[in-house]
């Protein structure tokens, strides 16, 4: 079984936070984002409608309109 690529913990993430980044994080903390408590709920709430994959050709399907029974009944009443 091949191993999935492991994230390199020492790359990608800047070792020293820019001052603007610190400012952003302090702002988040000040308004309450950053406190404990959300993580456990988030784990339970995970959804993945979007995924990191190669570009994928998917059929375009709308979610908005559904021909339910009551809609079909309505259509039946409009037929001459």
């Amino acid at each position: 079984m091949s191993k999935s690529p492991q994230p390199n913990a020492y790359a990608s993430v800047a070792p020293i936070a820019h001052s603007t980044d610190l400012k952003r994080r302090r702002f988040l903390l000040a308004v309450g984002v950053g406190g404990a408590g959300v993580a456990a709920v988030a784990t339970q709430a995970m959804v993945a409608p979007v995924a990191a994959t190669a570009p994928l050709e998917v059929a375009v399907e709308g979610q908005g309109y559904r021909e339910t029974e009551h809609v079909r009944d309505y259509y039946a009443t409009t037929r001459i």
Binding site: V31, G34, A36, M46, V50, A52, G64
Partner: protein
């Protein structure tokens, strides 16, 4: 008439997200809130999720924290809400064709119709970011839940994909969140039939305002 809601979202078990890129705790928190918002707009919460939210810590309020107050209201609403009622409300708001239905797709709010240019633009952006709809998922990319999930992935990364820079997050937010999500959430809050989802939308609006302001600090 059937009132069941089919969730077209593929639920990812938490275990498969175990490989985590190191990110700041504030960003972990942001990602968690996006995950929760995504989940609540993808499908109605079941009893387990409502209970989990209800048992989350309240945020400290000192009278000047609208976001904390909104969070606490959502937590309390989650404790008072019945899963069946939540499902009915979700159906009436987002799936039904009643007078108070709110279309949760960005293209509808920006272009006036679904599946218009804004969706095409979003797909172009996603492709550039190396993201795409999961196979078998019918939810459109510009659905509220999908937009929030995209933000989450930009923050935390996913699998071999590393977290995106704040600049990338800001660009995505400015182009694909800010133009319509605030308006959509306001519409939900103003719906007379919105009860639980009024709390969700209220919190979402305030959280996104924080996001807009904090991402602009880069």
């Amino acid at each position: 008439m059937s009132t069941s809601v089919t969730s077209d979202v593929s639920i990812q078990p938490a275990a498969t997200l175990a490989i985590a890129w190191p990110i700041a705790p504030e960003d972990e928190a942001r990602a968690g809130l996006y995950a929760l918002l995504s989940r609540l707009f993808a499908a109605p919460p079941d009893a387990l999720l409502l209970e989990a939210i209800a048992m989350t810590d309240h945020w400290t309020e000192d009278g000047h924290d609208p976001l904390a107050a909104a969070w606490n209201r959502l937590v309390m609403a989650s404790g008072a809400m019945d899963a069946d009622a939540a499902m009915q409300e979700y159906t009436d708001l987002f799936v039904g064709v009643g007078k108070c239905a709110v279309n949760p797709h960005g293209s509808h709010w920006i272009a006036g119709f679904m599946m218009e240019k804004p969706l095409a633009d979003l797909r172009t952006t996603l492709a550039r970011l190396g993201l795409a709809r999961e196979p078998g998922v019918t939810m459109l990319e510009d659905h509220l839940a999908a937009i929030f999930e995209t933000m989450r992935i930009l923050i935390t990364g996913r699998g071999p994909r590393s977290p995106s820079s704040t600049a990338t997050q800001h660009d995505f937010f400015a182009a694909h969140v800010e133009p319509w999500v605030f308006i959509c959430c306001t519409a939900i809050e103003q719906c007379s039939i919105a009860n639980y989802y009024a709390r969700v939308a209220e919190f979402g609006t305030l959280f996104l305002a924080v996001e807009r302001d904090s991402l602009a600090m880069g």
